[in-house]
């Protein structure tokens, strides 16, 4: 990826780079969140709280709807990994290093059901939250406006790399994202649990209407 040209052009190139990896994760009963294409062969990362009791439907940018299979979920890091029967997808890469306070970030998602929304901010703070297990969880706080429907979507840096998974809103002011390093570890562990990526037997995709 190479961004050139004016500021406005560079931002629209960033959006074009990230958008193909943004999906809708729709539960069977109510509500919908966002998700991130994590590899070209159908791995979708989202928040655990977006996934209901049953495997949700994943809607890609081309409007293709796929029944998903739940690979792994962990309420303690609020992450879930789904797989869909699709190939040739455009995944996002996690940032190789932790973000810096002050750097620009962009949140992608579907706040209040408004599809494919981008909001801008900076990294406000790098903090640690304690989960129920007593583990400390690295959190990226930002001043980026988030709303319900952003959950599970990516927070990316100026290079289009994932720095966090948008998770929730605290007091309406501080937006909270789970650090990308947590997501990488979660995915590695989930895949390492003996699930072969090539042999998974998922349901066939629905007809595209």
């Amino acid at each position: 990826m190479n961004f050139n040209g004016t500021f406005t052009q560079v931002i629209s190139e960033l959006v074009e780079h990230v958008m193909p990896a943004l999906v809708i994760v729709r539960g069977h009963q109510y509500g919908a969140g966002a998700g991130i294409v994590w590899d070209a062969n159908g791995l979708i990362l989202t928040n655990n709280h977006v996934v209901g009791r049953h495997s949700p439907v994943v809607v890609l940018q081309n409007d293709g709807e796929y029944e998903s299979r739940l690979i792994a979920r962990d309420p303690d890091v609020d992450l879930a990994l789904l797989s869909i029967e699709a190939t040739g997808l455009t995944p996002l890469k996690p940032a190789p290093v932790s973000p810096r306070v002050g750097e620009m970030v962009f949140a992608f998602g579907h706040p209040w059901g408004q599809r494919n929304t981008v909001t801008r901010g900076i990294v406000s703070a790098l903090v640690h939250a304690q989960n129920r297990r007593g583990d400390t969880l690295p959190i990226v706080r930002s001043d980026t406006p988030l709303a319900p429907g952003n959950s599970g979507g990516p927070l990316v840096n100026a290079k289009g790399e994932v720095v966090g998974i948008n998770a929730m809103i605290v007091g309406g002011d501080q937006s909270v994202s789970i650090a990308a390093s947590v997501a990488s570890d979660f995915v590695k562990k989930a895949i390492g649990n003996g699930i072969s990526m090539n042999k998974r037997a998922g349901p066939v995709p629905n007809d595209v209407i």
């Binding site: 810096r100 620009m104 002011d173």
Partner: protein
Amino acid sequence: MTQNVLVELSDALADAAEKAGKATVLVNARRRMPASGIAYAADLILTADHILEREDDIKVVLADGTEVSAKVAGRDAGSDLAVLKLERAAAPVAEVTKSPARLGQIVLVLGRPSPDGIEASLGTVSAIGGPIRTGRGGMLERYIRTDSISYPGFSGGPLVAADGAVLGVNTSGLANGAAITIPADIAWKIADTLSKHGRIKRGYLGIRSQTVEISDATRKALKREQGTGLLIVGVENDSPASKGGFIVGDILVAVAGVPVLHHDELFTRLTGDVVGKSTPIEILRGGQPQTLNVPIGER
């Protein structure tokens, strides 16, 4: 390595946060959440007055995580500023801007309410206003407003330009809880007085006045283009004004050579060096300019 204007701006903002963040400290002087402060000198911390809910057992946490005890060197409720003296000189000193804030300028608001690290939010300068009378009995000649979010505990922290220089001190204590910024030149001047004298002197004249127009003929006698002055409608007994010779009906037009057009300007003129000194005050009496030497009192 991907490099473009967006990445450059992003890096510059992170650099600015890092640079100014080194001089931004945590001030723990209240029971609720700690607040922020700025290293004014290696052993002096400039912060907001309203966040000092106690004067004993004040702790300052520097950017490198070291905790230093501090005492109040001076505080002023009117401007909501205070200066703390550190037990030992240890803080990297903040760099102050050489060019004042401009409307539309990109700014960062920094704070250190938690020992976890520096915190920031982004915005632009949305208004530069003043003078305003603060909710705490003072007068602020100029203030800066931004559209950035001020998180809890950000009072006393810096408003920072994209190059990392400090543009002012943020506080939510002056405008009914709304965050405003005291411009750095004003804040540093007050900090200088507070660190030397411990308080800001506010002058007292003992007059009641109202703004009146100055007629064309009188303006000629005054020999300057001054549209309004302050008509004296009351002089308190034994006040500095009565001792200086003020009588009802005089129009106050200047203090120490500086024209005074409105009451708020008189308020501003009566602070600082003039307090306790005999000061020339220019008046109009019967349409003719006169100068009274008035020993300005202290409130």
